[in-house]
């Protein structure tokens, strides 16, 4: 009996201690060591990750996605689509305040959407919008020139679609600190390039009551301040975390996982998913302009070997699956065309090369050493091609030079890159549609038709069926090569509580520090 009593009391003490440690606590500063500086803090001016990481704390979109990439309203209350599919009515949440104290109205949303359409690098997703009308303070009507899935467009890369007050949204030049005002849980107050970006808690933030997931649900800003500090040298990021100078560090080499696990003051986090390994193929240049040759590339590649090599064969850090851009964690995941994925079939590859008329010409592969995972992917995948008898000429340069050359569409066949996790099928239009900037010459009217169909308003089930056809056609045409996903490593100090790693941006809402 006495023994039982001791056990019960011990359990209660432990449970109490855990509960005490996990009790949310306001206050403190989150010092986040980031690998790079943002080029700008204006979310409508760029698509870079460094800007998204900060902007998602300051701005909120109309719609965002949860951890399973399902669209959910954020600043919207609800929406309706007209029967003819040529207009949407958007109803806004009421009582939402901007950081300058002003209440969110339909005028602000209209000006923000118009700004996105006018200047954002992702404006192409809104190509069917013809007019935006304010119905009343909290209602808008968006008119379309062709049937278009507006919700899908709003869900694409939501961190770039923040809503701002009308007076700033009407300014189409780059906005600076003081003008970058959103409705998010943190406010932007200072940016000292190469030193830090400072956010402070927005005291009047009104969270929704739904449980937090992904970019939606309840958001609470517990920290007084969040500092994003650029620390380029990875050794310095880890050292700063060890000494307690930083509370969070991103983009750590996976080789450091054991070191971090061995340190009781640190908690490692695996960011799942983080990057898709991709080769973009130039359909304007021989031999990648030949579909048989592209199929030979796909046949020769051993995806398991390539992706596992990138992460030093650590199974915690990769996923190899046939879902083109959507992994098993997404509702859009499908295995259509899986027989074409991860073939590692050299015999078939050689047969297809012969049919293509390939005679051992140089295949120019653009890559870089700026991102270690791209570099490793290049070497491992090039080795697969060499085994099949393809002569690969790798050209390494820095990342901006590589992109610069890729955009010329001349003098290269394969462009090594990485894509952030895809949230919406319409995003693939940028890489699969005739004339799209990153289709690099690929054009198939059948694919265009399918992309057009998936861009129209329809139920999820209907759209999913179309997506399965797109994936199958992708595997037959091979406009790009999708290897698989790698996961990232980041770490926090042990006193940081409730941090949830996910996607390519850290989320510091609903996170606090133990007292």
């Amino acid at each position: 009996m006495r023994r039982l009593l001791v056990m019960v009391v011990s359990c209660l003490i432990v449970a109490g201690a855990i509960a005490l440690g996990e009790e949310p606590r306001y206050g403190g500063v989150m010092r986040a060591a980031m690998q790079t500086n943002p080029p700008t803090l204006d979310p409508h001016k760029t698509t870079t990750t460094a800007t998204q990481q900060i902007a998602c704390h300051v701005f909120e979109p109309l719609i965002a996605f949860d951890e399973n990439f399902n669209p959910k309203p954020v600043l919207l209350q609800s929406w309706e689509v007209a029967e003819d599919n040529l207009s949407y009515t958007l109803h806004l949440r009421t009582g939402v305040k901007f950081h300058n104290g002003k209440l969110l109205t339909a005028e602000d949303v209209k000006a923000s959407l118009e700004r996105i359409i006018a200047i954002s690098p992702i404006s192409g997703y809104y190509d069917g919008v013809s007019e935006i009308n304010v119905v009343d303070d909290h209602t808008l009507q968006v008119r379309l020139s062709k049937p278009m899935n507006l919700v899908a467009a709003m869900t694409v890369q939501v961190t770039w679609q923040g809503i701002m007050p009308k007076e700033f949204a009407e300014n189409h030049d780059e906005l600076r600190v003081g003008q970058l005002i959103g409705t998010g849980p943190y406010m932007l107050v200072e940016w000292r390039p190469d030193q830090y970006v400072k956010l402070v808690r927005f005291p009047d933030y009104v969270p929704v009551e739904e449980p937090a997931s992904g970019f939606v649900g309840k958001k609470v800003a517990y920290f007084d301040e969040v500092l994003f500090i650029p620390v380029k040298e990875v050794g310095a990021r880890i050292a700063g975390l060890e000494t307690g100078e930083y509370d969070y560090a991103e983009a750590l080499p996976i080789e450091t996982l054991k070191t971090i696990q061995a340190n009781p003051n640190l908690v490692p986090h695996i960011v799942k998913p983080q990057w898709a390994l991709v080769w973009e193929l130039n359909s304007k240049e021989w031999p990648t302009n030949n579909v048989k040759f592209r199929q030979a590339l796909l046949a020769a590649l051993d995806m398991e070997f390539v992706v596992s090599t990138v992460v030093m064969n650590d199974p915690n850090f990769y996923s190899v699956n046939p879902g083109f851009v959507f992994g098993p964690w997404s509702a859009w995941y499908t295995e259509a065309g899986k027989e074409y994925y991860n073939q590692a079939n050299l015999e078939r590859a050689r047969k297809l090369l012969k049919e293509a008329g390939y005679n051992g010409e140089d295949v120019v592969l653009l890559s870089n050493r700026d991102y270690y995972w791209m570099y490793r992917c290049t070497l491992a995948a090039a080795a697969c091609l060499e085994r099949a008898g393809i002569r690969v000429k790798i050209e390494f340069s820095d990342w901006p030079s590589q992109i610069g050359k890729a955009l010329t569409l001349k003098g290269w066949n394969i462009n090594q890159t990485g894509w952030s996790p895809c949230e919406e099928p319409v995003r693939t239009k940028g890489s699969l549609q005739c004339g799209a900037p990153y289709a690099y010459g690929y054009c198939n009217p059948k694919m265009d038709e399918l992309l057009d169909q998936i861009s129209r308003p329809a139920s999820f089930e209907e759209r999913k069926q179309i997506w399965e056809q797109i994936q199958l056609l992708y595997y037959e045409d091979v406009p790009v090569i999708f290897f698989g996903y790698i996961f990232g490593l980041e770490a926090t100090r042990a006193e940081v509580q409730n941090y949830q790693p996910w996607y390519v941006v850290p989320r510091f809402w609903n996170v606090w520090k133990r007292g």
Partner: protein, 314 residues
């Protein structure tokens, strides 16, 4: 002397124009543009076209060069694409960090390098000489980033004496600012102390074998006086060249040190700007650094005459 200095200053003008042309051309010729950094890799062609027009990136080379050069001659180095301020303002903000780092590193280099070189020369072929030269060789062979990271792990992570990096302006908090500069200054300084030590030793050995030193000793001067008053002053002439060289290397070496220790100095500014293709900043900063280099070289030449009265420029 004044005439000579004036002539040299005049000669700097064509050199400065050539440098400006090279700096401008390099940024113009390398592939890639700032649009990838600003807009991101998935920007639409329309967004790229809009940005190219607004930044005048479609103007011909000579038009862009002339606009930039004429601005630079009036002290206007243009506006940074990313920083939201003028290039001159960015340089003014970053220069103190690099100067503190450079001055600190130079002090470390001289305090360690000069006595080590003199001692080594005076104890030629002894165990001390061998040890000093071996250390100097090791110092010269050590990459700055490696020494920086070793110092971080020993003195910041291990002993907790210094922070791992970051910058606090000395005007804001003198002690904390200095604490954050100790490791970066030591990283740079210790490497260049090795060069100063080797040059000082070689120069001292040459001077110690000259007739006038033998005469000084023969007439009964104290050894201390022979070394400090007669030998060292002459030996310092080649060492001065090296110190000038070290100042320049400190500025270029600071690129790496500033990145390892996350210091927002000129090095960090230039590296970031090159990676993002922030043309105005790279061109302006390089022009500024080159002008500084030319002026330091001139200053060193003038110092020769002060250190050795036999040198006459007129």
């Amino acid at each position: 002397m004044i005439q000579y200095a004036f002539r040299r200053l005049l000669a700097l003008v064509p050199m400065w124009i050539v440098v400006s042309l090279i700096t401008f051309s390099i940024m113009y010729l390398i592939p890639g543009d700032p649009l990838v950094s600003i807009l991101g890799p998935s920007a639409s062609p329309e967004a790229r076209a809009r940005m190219i027009k607004s930044m005048h990136l479609d103007d011909p080379f000579w038009v862009r060069y002339w606009k930039w050069l004429s601005g630079a001659m009036h002290g206007d180095l243009g506006e940074s694409i990313f920083l939201g301020r003028s290039v001159s303002q960015a340089i003014v903000e970053r220069l103190p960090v690099t100067l503190y780092l450079g001055i600190g590193a130079l002090i470390v280099a001289l305090v360690l390098g000069l006595p080590a070189g003199i001692t080594s020369a005076l104890k030629r072929n002894s165990a001390i000489d061998t040890a000093v030269m071996a250390l100097a060789l090791a110092g010269l062979s050590t990459p700055e980033f490696l020494l920086g990271l070793v110092l971080i792990y020993v003195f910041a992570v291990g002993l907790g004496w210094f922070p791992v990096g970051g910058y606090v302006p000395l005007t804001q908090n003198l002690l904390e600012g200095l604490r954050r500069l100790v490791m970066p200054c030591f990283t740079l300084g210790v490497i260049w102390a090795a060069l100063v030590a080797r040059m000082t030793r070689a120069a001292m050995l040459d001077v110690l074998e000259t007739d006038y030193i033998r005469t000084a000793r023969a007439k009964g001067l104290a050894e201390r006086s022979v070394i400090w008053r007669h030998a060292l002053r002459v030996a310092l002439i080649p060492v001065t060249t090296v110190i000038g060289f070290v100042v320049l290397l400190i500025v270029s070496g600071a690129f790496i040190t500033e990145i390892v220790f996350s210091l927002p100095g000129m090095g960090n500014l230039v590296v970031n700007s090159v990676l993002k293709r922030d043309y105005p900043v790279v061109q302006g900063a390089m022009l500024f650094i080159t002008t500084g280099t030319l002026l330091i070289n001139l200053l060193i030449d003038l110092l020769y005459a002060y250190l050795d009265p036999r040198i006459k420029y007129d």
